[in-house]
């Protein structure tokens, strides 16, 4: 079952902030965040683990609410290079499946 992402799309001006949300109906072991540019493969940003550990990008932050099975990705002081489609991927501890959401398209304008 795919996690649910919101919003579907967001348009920002350089310097503005945005939040992308990801939720699951199942108990999660880890939440992964990736960014994809047009015509390219997804690129890893960050992993959040059950228990609070985070691994990944220093300039992008995220949170993981284990009680609600929700994660949020925070784009702060956005730059033109932040444009792309952001995907969250979720994994549970009792299987080895990594499922992705439908994505959030971020457009940053000068």
């Amino acid at each position: 079952q795919q996690p649910v992402q919101s919003p579907q799309a967001v348009i920002l001006r350089e310097g503005e902030d945005a939040v992308i949300n990801c939720s699951s109906s199942k108990a999660l072991y880890s939440v992964h965040w990736y960014r994809q540019k047009h015509g390219e493969a997804p690129v890893f940003l960050m992993i959040l683990l059950k228990g609070g550990e985070q691994k990944g990008h220093e300039k992008i932050s995220a949170s993981f609410n284990e009680k609600k099975q929700q994660s949020s990705l925070y784009l702060t002081a956005s730059q033109l290079s932040y444009s792309g489609t952001y995907f969250c991927g979720t994994a549970r501890s009792n299987d080895y499946k990594l499922s992705f959401g439908a994505g959030t398209t971020v457009t940053v304008r000068a």
Partner: protein
């Protein structure tokens, strides 16, 4: 070269034909995945594998077959291609040594067109 590679990068095939997309990784990662990407649907999991000879269905497995006789290879076969299978296909792998607490590595994708 080390990494995860997909072949071919582009493929045009006719309806009803069988076509196989290849995925090869050089790291001996345990877990491998096949996704299809369509506008509005994001990355949808087709099949996944925990090790050689261990595979399982994902969210959209109908019309696809996989095998994994060797750890490094995970081919995806469309048994009888249909136009609805026109998509971009991504293969990915995860080391699996400590569970899903490391990043997934993606291949460069295969753009398949069924005419």
């Amino acid at each position: 070269d080390a990494g995860i590679t997909q072949s071919p990068r582009y493929k045009i095939t006719e309806t009803g034909r069988q076509v196989t997309l290849m995925c090869h990784q050089t790291w001996s990662h345990s877990y491998m995945f096949w996704y299809r990407q369509d506008l509005g649907h994001g990355l949808r999991l087709i099949y996944y594998s925990a090790a050689a000879d261990i595979t399982d269905k994902g969210e959209v497995p109908d019309g696809y077959v996989v095998s994994r006789s060797k750890t490094e290879n995970f081919p995806l076969t469309l048994e009888s291609a249909t136009r609805s299978q026109t998509s971009v296909y991504f293969c990915a792998s995860i080391p699996g040594r400590t569970g899903f607490d490391t990043e997934a590595f993606f291949g460069q994708g295969t753009r398949l067109t069924v005419v």
